[in-house]
Subunit: 492 residues, 2 copies
């Protein structure tokens, strides 16, 4: 605890890694690329889940649960999807271990317990779910089918980072089936908007809503809608995606329905997901060199109260004053921790809660006892104020809103300051290299140019923003005509 | 929907299987032994999770998340645990698929992507968690460590049944670490009591609290505390277990702490879990030949309202009366579904909600409109009553409590009628064979006798009940002395 964090300017990547560990959010495990999500990190995930789940249900979705394993023959049914994930999937080949005859006390795979068909640990569940949907859908009356699943998935990533890219991660995956193309596209767009609302209003993380280019689309999708956030180091983070899958999976799994007009037609599909990666985005949007900074709406502890006292008697006097305040805060739905541990000095506690990003800290000492006051400190700006005890509930309640707003506004300002409009490739390279952030530039619409730019600058097209204006222009690389600007950035 | 359920007396097992399918709770999947939990079944699980999670947090536990995979070398570290699960575990051996050169469009395991060390898909997480705890525990100040995980686990069962025994299932697993033996035992017992309270007060399923015999213990436990329920066919269901693990895992993973006295000691452990199996128990405790019967506290829909009308105008008149009633019910926290579909007749709707076990049904027709009344029907007894519209909120609220109570009492009575005290092996065999249920008998305490009785009657010792009185007696099989009766039954 005592050792300081590496600062962001010194080494942003190291700062992130240290912060995740020191703030007790997660750690690496004995399994390559898999993380352990520690209680404090998991509590943030629970808050995210709770809100997202509510939003999914409000938009008519129901939760269900599908198998962890995908038989190889189903996995390969939708060709593009299979191709996209085959290179990084964990495969179960046996269903039993036995004593190793050569090593006392050790086990080995039982060669006689080989599966007839290998099972893929789901990297995503389109295949197993569409194979199931086949039995659920006969008529237009069964549509739309609006399903969500909270689950773990596995993608055998070679380079992993806590939360941002792990071999196993937790996520939700929505899978919906529709009678018409339009309805499916509307659904995919609606869920993009749900994600954007969640990111902005709960995570206080502004996002650009847009569509992916063909080469950045989800394997098997006709269109991928994305929300893209900007981290403090100027790199973009893809924070959530929503896919219009056309009839690809209906075709692959033969899912047809009888329309209102009595015709047999293939079903239209979407899928959409966000994951524990969001926690990485949350950290990198707001936190500082002192530690985590959490938006109040997702903070497991919103207010921490630290008594500053000498001896039992003083602690008791302070506690007596604080008890009704704690009750009043809790009654307002505010999560409060009263830290009266006698094993740690107040200064050490302050540092701990700073590191853990608790939005509001209240301290009460001897002088406060005499004056009927309290000291309130906010995590985002470090401002402190002395407040009358009778006003504390209103003050804290207001402050939580203010912090939520301030964090969002700060991130919006940061993004504005780190979005550059360029019209030449020199400026493009300069912006990417020296300033970072989003670069809005004209692009000729070809995958070839996209690849070339990536090769030269490491920047990729994050999205074609939904609100990108039609405007005549020339591709920054090739000079060919372009109808609108797209958003480039280096990305996580 | 129209085809009737097999009755329980005709074939209990088939009745169960049909009910799970027809009530839309779950279905089998393309993966051997794995189920798909459908939205209605999952909604019950969510209600269970919500309440259990609340109870775990109230008793000081925090959620976290650990990897799905256990490296073989960790898996085999605690010998008994490894031995217990080695025979039924899914093993990941490769991390990539590639195009099959011999079959166009097909994939095969890439032989070059073989893992150096195989990964076991967790059948339970003691190994991976204790390997992690090693880094979290140094001093007595780090104890107790009270962790819970909501997760999926895989056990390669040969004979599976929806909810009751599936290769993959959802569960929670608590894992705690303590400074003293007593504290760990108290924790294990406390969680047994939490499970029992949940079973009785929420599932309306009475349970016997007891300890397992040595041969029925969890692999690696020194003591397994269990809650045992009785199903309508006279078979017992182990509904939840809580294990005192002694220092076995601390030894295997070298987890020591510095005590208050400065001594280095091994940590004491517990683990405890309940799973989606509870849904099987819920079904088999209350349901009848008409379908599911759900206790109100766990019913996804507590009240369904069906308007009985001819024509749009009448529907509108009825809806106008119902709208404020629906609002008032919802304001009381009651979950209400208003089913005004025009594609189904009221009779068909009644049958559907009966099948789905909705506790209370309200119907309102033309005559009710004239009389200012409503018809309320309860699912458990099929009783109907005409109620004044102004009284409906109070009535429904009372009725939900009454149904919850009645279901519990009915199950308690059933169990009392199906618990037999026997003192000879003839009576023992007769009771097990002809009557089923729990049989309380003296046993000489040896695994040999336990095995022999199982071989002869298929009955196993479900538990040594916590409240079993000390009483001198003679083992029903061997005539050897015994200090107390234990509870036998055939079991799921």
């Amino acid at each position: 605890m005592s050792k300081k964090l590496t600062s962001r300017t010194e080494d942003y990547s190291r700062w992130y890694n240290e912060l995740v560990i020191k703030a007790d959010l997660a750690e690496t495990s004995a399994v390559r690329g898999c993380m352990v999500i520690k209680p404090y990190g998991y509590a943030i995930w629970e808050k995210m889940q709770h809100q997202l789940d509510h939003m999914f249900k409000e938009t008519g979705h129901q939760n269900a649960y599908f198998p962890l394993f995908v038989p190889k023959s189903l996995f390969e049914a939708e060709e593009k999807n299979a191709e996209g994930f085959a290179k990084e999937c964990a495969v179960v080949t046996h269903y039993r271990l036995q004593n190793d005859p050569e090593k006392e006390g050790k086990l080995r795979v039982d060669p006689e317990a080989k599966l007839e068909e290998e099972l893929v640990v789901r990297p995503t569940s389109e295949a197993i779910i569409w194979n199931t949907f086949k039995g659920w859908i006969q008529s237009y009356r069964d549509l739309p089918l609006l399903i969500n699943q909270w689950a773990n998935v596995v993608r055998w990533e070679m380079r992993t980072r806590l939360f941002l890219r792990t071999a196993e991660f937790l996520w939700q995956e929505g899978h919906t089936a529709h009678a018409t193309e339009k309805e499916a596209i509307d659904e995919a767009k609606q869920m993009q908007e749900v994600y954007a609302t969640f990111a902005e209003q709960y995570m206080a993380m502004p996002v650009v809503r847009g569509a992916k280019t063909e080469s950045e689309r989800f394997a098997g999708a006709l269109e991928t809608y994305t929300i893209e956030a900007l981290m403090q180091d100027g790199k973009a983070l893809q924070a959530g995606t929503s896919h219009f899958l056309g009839q690809n999976f209906a075709n692959a799994f033969d899912v047809k329905f009888t329309s209102r007009e009595g015709k047999l037609e293939y079903v239209w599909a979407t899928s959409w997901g966000v994951s524990t990666r969001l926690i990485g985005g949350l950290i990198m949007t707001h936190s500082d060199d002192n530690g985590l900074v959490l938006p109040p709406k997702l903070a497991p502890i919103q207010v921490v109260i630290v008594p500053i006292y000498k001896g039992e008697e003083q602690l008791q006097q302070i506690s007596e004053k604080l008890d009704p305040i704690i009750d009043a805060l809790k009654a307002k739905g505010i999560s409060v921790k009263f830290d009266n541990r006698d094993t740690l000095r107040p200064g050490a506690k302050f540092a701990e809660y700073e590191l853990k990003g608790v939005p509001v800290r209240i301290a009460m000492g001897k002088r406060d006892l005499e004056n009927g006051t309290l000291e309130i400190a906010r995590r985002d700006t470090f401002e402190k104020q002395s407040v009358n005890q009778s006003e504390v509930v209103v003050k804290v309640s207001d402050l939580l809103h203010e912090i939520q707003e301030n964090l969002y506004q700060r991130a919006v300002d940061f993004r504005a300051a780190h979005t550059t409009i360029v019209d030449s490739f020199e400026d493009f390279k300069g912006a990417i290299k020296n300033k970072g952030g989003f670069v809005a530039a004209h692009w000729d619409g070809t995958a070839e140019t996209e690849d070339k730019i990536k090769e030269l600058t490491k920047a990729t097209i994050r999205c074609i923003p939904n609100d990108s204006k039609e405007e005549e222009g020339l591709c920054v690389l090739t000079g060919k005509p372009s109808k609108r600007r797209v958003l480039f950035a280096k990305a996580y």
